[in-house]
């Protein structure tokens, strides 16, 4: 039963509270956690609300040009942020397709990726954008590549006592672009399958598939192929490489075979959208 509700004002206070009580749960926007409380799926001893920590709120440009998205940044802010230029546009596209306007007003990027449901929109977008995840523990800070952050079904690189404090995106490049293509049963649902794709100014493509396995799926050979050749046959070969890496489940959103069949089709749409003239940074 819930015995405590804490409202720390710094990351250090939050991680100290977490260290004191391993049974406590961190709460960000609450969009998933409170639903689990209501359903009695979880019954934490205490909640540590992260809503009053200025350091983890909002989006900023770091001195070296990278973009830092605080963990408590709501999906609405990420979807509307004009700093997400170049390949970082993939994150804006992904955020704008999460659930619905009301849930986007509540949910946060840190809460979302810490939950790490494979059907979420951020994981493939972050891996495609070569983002890093900033993690704080009791008295420590570390950075983990998004690709290494997502480890298995609902399992991340977070150790007990740690929390996500931010997501950091590489400095946007002129001429780069990113798109996120989501296939869902109805508007607002989790993805049945999704494809995030980024292209650099030099034409290097990086594709990531979501909702088709425990973690976002990539294939270096597929990326190398598409960076050289975007013909239909190359797209078909790249799609087959990604399909071979997929490990989807049968669930209410689609059978594993249906998800595999979606991958090359979503890939085609993503690469076609990337090919549209982007002009300046957008």
């Amino acid at each position: 039963m819930l015995q405590g509700f804490f409202l720390p004002e710094t990351v250090d206070q939050a991680t100290a509270l977490l260290a004191q009580d391993p049974e406590a749960k961190l709460m960000a926007g609450g969009a998933t956690l409170v639903a689990m409380l209501n359903a009695r799926v979880i019954e934490p001893a205490a909640l540590i609300s992260l809503s009053a920590i200025p350091e983890i709120q909002g989006i900023s440009v770091l001195p070296d040009g990278r973009i830092r998205i605080g963990a408590f940044t709501r999906h609405r802010e990420t979807a509307q942020c004009t700093l997400h230029l170049g390949a970082a546009a993939v994150l804006r596209h992904a955020a704008s397709q999460i659930a619905n306007a009301t849930v986007r007003n509540m949910g946060t990027i840190g809460g979302s990726i810490s939950f790490a449901d494979p059907g979420l929109d951020y994981p493939p977008a972050l891996v495609a954008a070569q983002a890093e995840v900033e993690i704080a523990g009791s008295g420590s800070r570390r950075m983990v590549a998004a690709h290494d952050f997502f480890q298995d079904w609902y399992l991340t690189a977070l150790e007990p006592g740690e929390m996500v404090t931010a997501v950091v995106l590489p400095k946007p490049q002129a001429g780069a672009h990113g798109v996120y293509i989501k296939h869902a049963r109805v508007a607002g649902d989790y993805a049945t399958a999704s494809v995030a794709a980024c292209v650099s100014a030099q034409g290097q493509i990086r594709v990531t598939v979501g909702a088709c396995g425990p973690v976002p799926i990539r294939d270096d050979d597929a990326d190398a192929l598409l960076s050289e050749d975007r013909s239909e046959s190359a797209l078909a070969r790249a799609g087959a490489l990604l399909q071979a890496r997929a490990d989807p489940l049968d669930d209410v959103r689609g059978s594993a075979n249906y998800r595999r069949a979606l991958i090359p089709r979503l890939l085609l749409r993503a690469v076609r959208q990337l090919a549209l003239p982007v002009g300046a940074l957008q």
Partner: protein, 164 residues
Amino acid sequence: MSAPRQTLQLQVNGAEAEVRVGLHDSLLTVLRDQLQLTAAKRGCNQGVCGACTVVRDGYTVRACLSLAHGCTHADIETLEGLNQEASMQALQKAFAAESAFQCGFCAPGMLISAHALLLHNPSPDADQVRAAMSGNLCRCTGYAPIVVAVLQAAAHLRAQELAP
């Protein structure tokens, strides 16, 4: 064994409200069971149906997914408070005129979402209305009259130059 309860001050519809809440109590529970503000409905209690939608600091949220303890520094508005606004009254008239509800359970949440849309976009097209209302489920109408009603209210407000 019941959870410990605490006294909290909430700001609801422009007035201070003192409530006694347990740590796990949602804003929805407090609004409905203590403040007798029953426009927001408990549908799924999972954030899916939208019947409990209220406004927090100017943005729509799910009252069922908002813990009351997390709302102490927030400005909460419910349909009871928004009723006096011209845009809400126009929406209510249009919903009635177009039969945009039957059982009425979803209507308060629909009205809050539509009101939030018109606040940011006084001239939405039908697709924008559908997108804005996509977080609110209705099991009676099939949605078509709801979209018509929101478009009609928006047109009425523009004509009256009362757009919020």
